[in-house]
Symmetry: C2
Subunit: 442 residues, 2 copies
């Protein structure tokens, strides 16, 4: 059960808050035009995370069979992927204990990271899941080469220690797969990385860890049902998008997500990609738009960021996430008087509410999302809700939330610097540019 | 060796960059007035991180003796602290391998976090360092109670498994220390949490891990020597502060620190506290100021945040951190043509430079900090440089960088919600406020 409490971002309660009229106007925009556009996008192959839910559901039996038949003897699962091929896995891994098996991550390309991993794990009991939709992500391919070289050096069978997750048709991994007989899962073609957690991308590692995949998908399905209508009044995803974008339009250029739980910290990192990469771009009117997402953590960031949130510029909308019931709570009975009769979870929740009301007194706006407990159903719900809200926010800002044209140039220069012959022109351009600069360096 | 390259934030190279005149004007402000103020602050007890270096140096022999005599048989060191009592330790821990011993962290108050830790470690071989300057931080005291209860239940001697690090005179831990004979280290009174990494706060866990403390302090000392004069031309700390604040004054309200190394990721989290909590406040003219720090990570965030940095609003100044030499580099020779002859570290560095030049083409400003290699000397240098630059930035913004008045109200409400009798009035105020709100909740 997920609740959105937006009491403390409305003008009746906070002088700097939103007028109901602003939300009414956004509601009208959705009802008259934007919701139709949004539905067209969701029906279109490029926004398939809604349709993807039933594909995922149909694939569950084969995923489970694979896990049982092929990975039963494995202790470690290494996710080799970056961005959308990595963050969703991390969210589910850290949120749930599952069966206690371990998941590791190779995203960055750093020698030290690989050395540490290979020191820590027993390769005999380890499977590496190489995840790249395009099949050409350079970091993921570099880590794949490093992993493959080690497996070959140790004479471990590739078919047993590698799994590919990639586009069903194109890309480099498709070739290797056929040549070497590597077990391969497909990412439904239309599904972009940052919208892919509830597909084979996220389900394989989660299934390995014994996370309840049915419940996860059921929660997402319930969220999909709560995100159908064309009005903020009856569609939670539209409401969430409207709250964030109305705040953005009031100058709140920073969107802080602050769960009060270490177990939800990666959810903030996942959200951070979703929001930044989907919305940070040139809009239909040629204007650069995008709210900068910040992943904070309570209570930890009360000792780091909250001073700024309280007294710094009013350029942030802050969303607290509260877990109402924590399992195996810990008593604080002991030698400190005011802790007697208290528990750790009570302290955690008191800190959240105290911070939110203290922000109110500084006229700073915030939302609070409550979940009754941290379980798979709620996580599936929350992830779907945020994916939907992100696409809806794209409609409000007038951007295409699915592409990421701004990162192409950097990729090309990288290949140029690696001396790929196809990027020779770019290399010349790069060097000319660098040579023209006046250096400032101390 | 640390270099600041600010080529790509100057107007001659980037149309949206800084005029030399702007830097000249800041230079004049420092020379005529602000540097004198800054020196007064650094001489004053409340900014003792410069003077603290020689205190730390004098304490090294006794820290080492303690580690040898008392902790020789221990395998695990748990830092129990939050904010400034935690982040600096994490920076040094993740940056260096040391002797391979493990450091764990209890900062947040979450039942699950404690349970996981106690499951993972063998308590017999574990020492808990309770770090709180004031001796009253509620999260740290709550974790202390939980740890103490477990140690007592297992009949493990407190004198062997607990260490306190706290103010030499005041606070709750001083009482317990005397009663129970717990080994105790002092935080020099004037040293605020976020400026305390190079004191007993950070040196004990680092020493336990076999990190080279002399070299760390020597690097910091070298930085102190490079941050003495009253002019940007000859004082790197003033220059860094000027670059950040001149960008802030041009509307770059977000300060992104993006090291290209997992080993430096916690440095970003440490910086994030330093910058936010020191500068995010009401300034001398009654205006809310403060640049929002963001800790990014390369290359990972090229697949998450860089789209927004490229095409979103020009409201960010981005600092890349590059490590020039990586140890034990990994060859990418194998079946992918363009990787042959390349290494992982070369790919990592190519990604950084490609991204920086791609940003230039979008007229987005950035800096680059280079370190020849990631060693203790450079880390000490970098931490000192940023502490000094933060205090210098405080002078430019007209705020007192040492206090954090904005978090008091939240602390008081927390105590009120825990029913501490001394906070009864606050409790009534809190409830009245909540009762007056019109609820918005779905």
């Amino acid at each position: 059960m997920i609740t959105i409490d937006y009491t403390l971002t409305m003008k009746e309660n906070v002088a700097t808050g939103l007028n109901s009229e602003v939300l009414e106007a956004i509601d009208l925009r959705f009802r008259t035009q934007l919701h139709r556009q949004l539905e067209a996008r969701l029906a279109d192959s490029t926004y398939a995370f809604r349709a993807g839910l039933s594909i995922a559901h149909d694939e569950l039996p084969s995923i489970k069979r694979f896990l049982q038949e092929n990975l039963g003897g494995m202790r470690n699962f290494v996710v080799v992927g970056i961005g959308g091929s990595n963050l969703g896995n991390l969210v589910l891994d850290r949120a749930f204990r599952g069966n206690g098996k371990s998941i590791y991550y190779l995203d960055n390309v750093e020698p030290d990271k690989i050395h540490r991993l290979f020191q820590e794990i027993n390769l005999q009991e380890t499977v590496f899941n190489i995840i790249t939709k395009s099949g050409s992500t350079s970091e993921t391919l570099a880590n794949y080469i490093a992993v493959r070289n080690v497996l070959e050096r140790k004479r471990l069978p590739l078919q047993k220690h590698l799994i590919f997750t990639t586009d069903p048709q194109k890309g480099y991994l498709q070739e290797i797969r056929q040549r070497d007989g590597i077990p391969t899962f497909h990412i439904p073609s239309p599904l972009g990385g940052r919208f892919s957690v509830l597909s084979t991308v996220g389900l394989l590692s989660s299934g390995f860890k014994g996370i309840d995949l049915e419940s996860l998908l059921q929660g997402a399905h319930a969220a999909a049902n709560d995100c159908l209508s064309d009005s903020l009044r009856t569609n939670k995803g539209l409401l969430l998008a409207a709250l964030y974008i109305a705040n953005y339009q009031k100058g709140r250029t920073i969107n802080v997500l602050m769960p009060y739980s270490d177990r939800l910290h990666p959810f903030g990192q996942w959200f951070r990609q979703l929001w930044a990469e989907s919305l940070g771009k040139i809009n239909r009117d040629g204007k650069p738009v995008g709210q900068t997402p910040v992943d904070a953590l309570g209570t930890v960031d009360q000792h780091s960021q909250v001073q700024l949130y309280m007294e710094g510029p009013d350029d942030k909308i802050i969303t607290f996430i509260e877990i109402l019931r924590h399992q195996n709570d810990i008593s604080l009975d002991g030698e400190i008087d005011y802790f007697n009769g208290q528990t750790m979870a009570k302290l955690l929740r008191a800190q959240l509410h105290a911070t939110q009301i203290a922000l109110l007194q500084k006229q700073r706006c915030s939302l609070r999302i409550e979940m009754d407990e941290l379980n798979e159903w709620n996580m599936g719900y929350l992830m779907y809700l945020y994916m939907y809200a992100t696409v809806a926010a794209g409609e409000l800002l007038g951007v295409n939330p699915i592409d990421q044209p701004g990162v192409e140039q950097g990729k090309e220069y990288t290949y140029a610097l690696l001396d790929r012959p196809e990027y020779h022109e770019q290399r010349i351009q790069y060097e000319k540019l660098c040579a023209s600069l006046r250096k400032y360096c101390v």
